[in-house]
Symmetry: D2
Amino acid sequence: MKTLSIELAIERLESRGVTVDDITDLVFDLQTPYVENLTKATCKYNVVRVLSKREVQNALLTGIELDQLAEEGKLQQPLQDIVASDEGLYGIDEIIALAIVNVYGSIGLTNFGYVDKIKPGIIAKLNDHADGKCHTFLDDIVGAIAAAASSRLAHSEEGAEVPD
Amino acid sequence: MKTLSIELAIERLESRGVTVDDITDLVFDLQTPYVENLTKATCKYNVVRVLSKREVQNALLTGIELDQLAEEGKLQQPLQDIVASDEGLYGIDEIIALAIVNVYGSIGLTNFGYVDKIKPGIIAKLNDHADGKCHTFLDDIVGAIAAAASSRLAHSEEGAEVPD
Amino acid sequence: MKTLSIELAIERLESRGVTVDDITDLVFDLQTPYVENLTKATCKYNVVRVLSKREVQNALLTGIELDQLAEEGKLQQPLQDIVASDEGLYGIDEIIALAIVNVYGSIGLTNFGYVDKIKPGIIAKLNDHADGKCHTFLDDIVGAIAAAASSRLAHSEEGAEVPD
Amino acid sequence: MKTLSIELAIERLESRGVTVDDITDLVFDLQTPYVENLTKATCKYNVVRVLSKREVQNALLTGIELDQLAEEGKLQQPLQDIVASDEGLYGIDEIIALAIVNVYGSIGLTNFGYVDKIKPGIIAKLNDHADGKCHTFLDDIVGAIAAAASSRLAHSEEGAEVPD
């Protein structure tokens, strides 16, 4: 039987069209202005560490489940329409993402909000609705993973603690 | 078609075995030590005001949906087993409840945690698993509504602001 | 003696160089793309309603107090240097701002992070450090008030609830 | 000059009458019902790991600073009276504590609220106000450290991840 693991988390992300490299690119763009000689490898390492957290895996699985159920029309009304249309006043996607952001401290809040608004790279792709997919939760979750990885990276650079 | 409303929120709660009076009783027990001459009517008024908030209705519908899907075995593994068994390290139910608690400020956090741990009244009933039901999300949501209504009541008593 | 009130909150903001109109401008810029025929008067009304909340007033007074104490060199080390320099890994300013953002639901998180990163209008002025002032907490608080007012406005426009 | 470190965090706690052993006792009492053969040494290890986090150290230093300033009458009114009297509607202490609780995921919320309400061991001592001290922030911070250490312990026991 399937158990909670980082492999499963990555598999689910990929099944929804998001790779670890996509999230790595977000982190690289967010942190390049602040970290000298930043490499993609360092960014990827931090994304992987975020994905190894059980809290993150639980948030990810729950959000993707709701997206998929909405896609298949299997939620009750009015939740079905609210999630399927990514209704602007529905904030449960942001709240689930917050569970991810908080794992590396409150400095991640800023990057999360920024990514959620600017919609760079993979986030824009998740939002284009062109392929009949529903990514109401996933776009926030991906932004939150990138924000948390950026926080982890910032803490590591400082070197004053072992963040994980 | 069904739309988001307080009537729908109350209907969904009742379909899962929870009445407004059940939550009113929790608030009455929580606040009686602090508020002189507290009546059930005042408590009920505050519960109703909490239930009129869109953020609360969205949290409630989402949590109950996940409970019902788990009950019917319709979630993917391993999320199905995690939610159905109310697995101790799964914290997404607490996070969704936090969206409710926060609506009347951070003083609700204490009451939420207390109710979640002590499991008074209806919360204990939701937790006994005797009837084959899954209330992994609902018990936290009910506790959160009671905590938020207690906060609202405390703010109103003080009279220094109109909280809503 | 001074008591907690919206007048006091506005007085404190002004004593630190921030007017209600400054925050109104932030809300107007944030919400103009989404709300047809939006007026400054509507934005201002929502800012005032946010400022009338006790949770918001408490966050504002606490944050400004820490800024002023840091300015006067009255905090113990190393907190003095951390706050005075707006140290990047210090996240308590974001956490206090979160108490404000949450008052109108989690949809405010996105706007808060965005404003905190982009630093439009008054936020940039608070961040220029040109005048020997410390605004480590205030810039986040002002962004949070603008984000909360934007959420309140979005909820009011929808008309599905009376948000306050 | 003093820099942020776990030694400094422990020194500050002790200067306010709280030892690592006091917090260890809280964790032991909270987790004994759930963890077989739990030892104080294991509890202490988890408390120390929580205290090694920068986010925790920042929250702790900020909260203790505000407590001490209130004790010395150095805050502006009305914040001075609000903090000195541990005013019931002031929720910034709970918000700062939340920054600590969240570091090991949302399952800590329940224990935090419970401890904050029941006031076991050292928390009761901090609350008795017998010695003219102000511990408005510290009691919540100590409860939050105990709750976070309990979460960390629960995650470690499960063994499904290396939480730090």
